[in-house]
Amino acid sequence: MKDLVGIKELSRQDIEEILNTAKAFKEVLQRDIKKVPTLRGKTAINLFFEPSTRTRTSFELAEKRLSLDVLNFSVSMSSVVKGETLYDTLKTIEAYNVDYIVIRHSSSGSAKFVSEHTPASVINAGDGTNEHPTQALLDAFSILEIKGRLDGLKIAIVGDIIHSRVARSNLYLLSKFDTDIRFVGPPTLLPVQAPDNVRIFYDLKEGIKNADVVMLLRIQLERQKGAFIPSLKEYFHRWGVKKEDFSYIKDDAIIMHPGPMNRGVEISTEVADSSRSIILRQVTNGIATRMAVIYLLTPREA
């Protein structure tokens, strides 16, 4: 496989291979010397058209653990402001002879666009509201660690589904397994037509009933301006997950969040800091998962 543009393009087998490889890398990361020489002499560039400290840091650490030379090309120093097209930026970067391009961009489909125009391996670190595949992979890896399986699980994704690339990548990943998927949130933040295998709930308690996994999404303050929600306060009142909601989910259910979270908006502090929350484990697993993805991709001979 040359690129990881989205979960859409992966088979269940591809996903399992990535998750198995991530497991091996997680063991490496627990050793004293956390670096492997696998990709020494190769170069990765983190091409970020949207600011993101977390995802970029996670990728950078993964790249360094694989002994890659790492370049960061971020929007503040880029020539986008000068009106250069994505295509021309890409060709410039290609001229540096890089092997791996990690891209984050505000346009849906931009990672696919880039992958079609370069021999380098392209890894999508978030393209518009389309996909954020490594997030879904690290989420699946984290669920597997705790639950031992994905098949048979009931998963509720709560919040701003329509604007979320994390929700989409998780949907595509979980759909390749035998899972029960629910979207929960206000109608203004849910798709007009739900995918066939998804059930829609406006009511939080109904939507998370008997869930094994509750995935929360970040609510942006701007949603108030677009009349998607009246206020963050009302959102928290109706859809913020609070301690008392634990009585609706399974006893061993876990709470996930891709970060950065808003305490008191989509999640209460008590829930965020509870033993059911695996939010920090997700961050740790991000590195091993991203190492696995880079390791399994093969750039085309230029």
Binding site: K8, T85, L86, Y87, H105, S106, S107, S108, G109, S110, K112, F113, D127, G128, T129, N130, E131, I162, R165, R168, P191, V192, Q193, P195
Partner: protein, 435 residues
């Protein structure tokens, strides 16, 4: 130059004549149209520079087609298309008249721009060009453009196409005022607030691709508004590029009530659906967006029932750099002049329209709406006709387009039906040998 076309099957909605005939054209004038009972056996001599003889047995002759919705891009966007290349694309596609939209730079909102377009067309054009003036100055939706002077300069209709007139009072006044100018208002029906920053039809696929959707209501709300305004003022209203089933239903009801409304659709709306975007294909990005199968079927049905009067191309050429970007950033539009007839002939091959009905939607119907005088195929008239093999198979190759706009979602499609000759006055365009 003398052109003799023998045994042609003429379908001419202007003269209401249909049948097998021999046609003789001398120096751009139709000197003879001889209808006959039987196809004659004959050997045609080789064409020379002064005489072309064609045995058109099995071929059709139609009046030159009229495209009432074309973007020629000149003045201002000559890197996308020029009057020279756009009208060449037109005649290649069987059109001998094109009506060019006002969203040039400068906008065609004053007679000087109209004069410029007409002068250029006369100098470099291959066919008739009928400019469409802007409804409002600068397409800004604020002040009316000089509609009477534009009409006198040669504009045949008024449209802010590309942009809706968002203010309902301005639209009402435009309709009212147009009655004194005797030219119809063509409405681009889109509620920009509902479109927001949408880039494709809102539905399952937009969610799947993570692209912001445009609800069908964006079109329907304004179709309904403009029908109400047309009914109120009694001014003729033509609805551009209908893409949605709901619009069809509104237009149907309005026509039943006697509102002076007409409508057009474009080949892509009855040929493609939003499925064409699954791969983020920017060449299928168009406004209004490609919709669903339900809409596609409703539009075909509306063409059959006569609810939609006209097939127009909405030929919207763009430079390759404007489509070679991520989907969200790509410009809207399809280069349509050179594929429109063949795509529309599918409706005939599939028994949805008769050939005559189809040709009406490309000739007499737009001529009536725009009050363009056309004589049809009759003796003494200036030549304005096309010779078509409705069964000839060919493959769309964007690189062979005469248009500068190579932005087509139909590249590589195998189509049936090709224009072999376009004759416009003393200009003869012979496509018999070209791919």
């Amino acid at each position: 130059m003398i052109i003799k076309i023998y045994n042609a099957h003429i379908i001419d909605p202007f003269t209401s004549k249909e049948g097998i005939a021999d046609i003789i054209l001398e120096n751009g004038i139709i000197s003879k149209v001889y209808f006959k009972k039987k196809i004659s056996q004959l050997k045609v001599s080789k064409s020379s520079s002064s005489v072309i003889e064609i045995n058109a047995k099995g071929l059709y002759v139609f009046p030159g087609l009229i495209d009432m919705h074309t973007h020629l891009r000149e003045p201002g966007y000559e890197y996308k298309e020029t009057i020279r290349t756009g009208t060449l694309a037109a005649v290649k596609g069987g059109f001998t008249s094109v009506c060019c939209m006002a969203n040039t730079n400068p906008v065609n909102d004053n007679p000087e721009v109209t004069y410029y377009i007409l002068a250029k067309a006369k100098e470099e054009g291959s066919c008739d060009v009928y400019p469409i003036g802007a409804i409002t100055k600068g397409l800004k939706g604020e002040e009316l453009s000089e509609m009477a002077m534009l009409k006198e300069a040669g504009c045949v209709a008024f449209s802010d196409d590309g942009m809706p007139v968002m203010n309902s009072m301005i639209m009402k006044r435009a309709l009212d005022y147009s009655k004194s100018v005797d030219a119809p208002i063509i409405s681009h029906c889109e509620d920009l607030a509902l479109t927001e920053d949408g880039v494709m039809n809102e539905g399952k696929i937009s969610f799947y691709l993570g692209l912001k959707g445009i609800p069908k209501a964006s079109e329907e709300v304004f179709v309904s508004r403009d029908i109400i305004l047309s009914k109120y003022s009694g001014a003729p209203l033509h609805i551009a590029h209908v893409s949605v089933k709901g619009s069809v239903e509104l237009i149907k009801r309005a026509k039943e009530e006697g509102v002076p409304v007409t409508a057009e659709t474009c080949p892509h709306y009855f040929t493609l659906t939003e499925e064409a975007i699954r791969d983020y294909n920017t060449n299928a990005k168009v406004n209004p967006p490609l919709r669903t199968e339900e809409d596609r079927q409703a539009i075909k049905e509306a063409l059959k029932e006569g609810i939609i009067d006209v097939i127009a191309t909405d030929h919207a050429p763009h430079h390759i750099d404007e489509k070679k970007v991520p989907f969200q950033e790509a410009l809207n539009g399809i280069s349509g002049l050179e594929t429109a007839l063949a795509l529309s002939l599918r409706l005939v091959h599939d028994d949805i329209l008769s050939l005559r009905e189809l040709i009406e939607k490309f000739t007499v119907n737009p001529a009536k709406i725009l009050k363009i005088n056309k004589s049809g195929i009759k003796e003494g008239a200036s030549a304005d006709l096309i010779v078509v093999d409705i069964n000839k198979a060919w493959t769309v190759d964007k690189d062979k387009f005469a248009s500068l706009g190579k932005n087509t979602p139909f590249d590589g499609w195998k189509l049936r039906g090709k224009v072999l000759l376009t004759i416009k006055g003393n200009k003869v365009f012979d496509m018999r040998k070209s791919g």
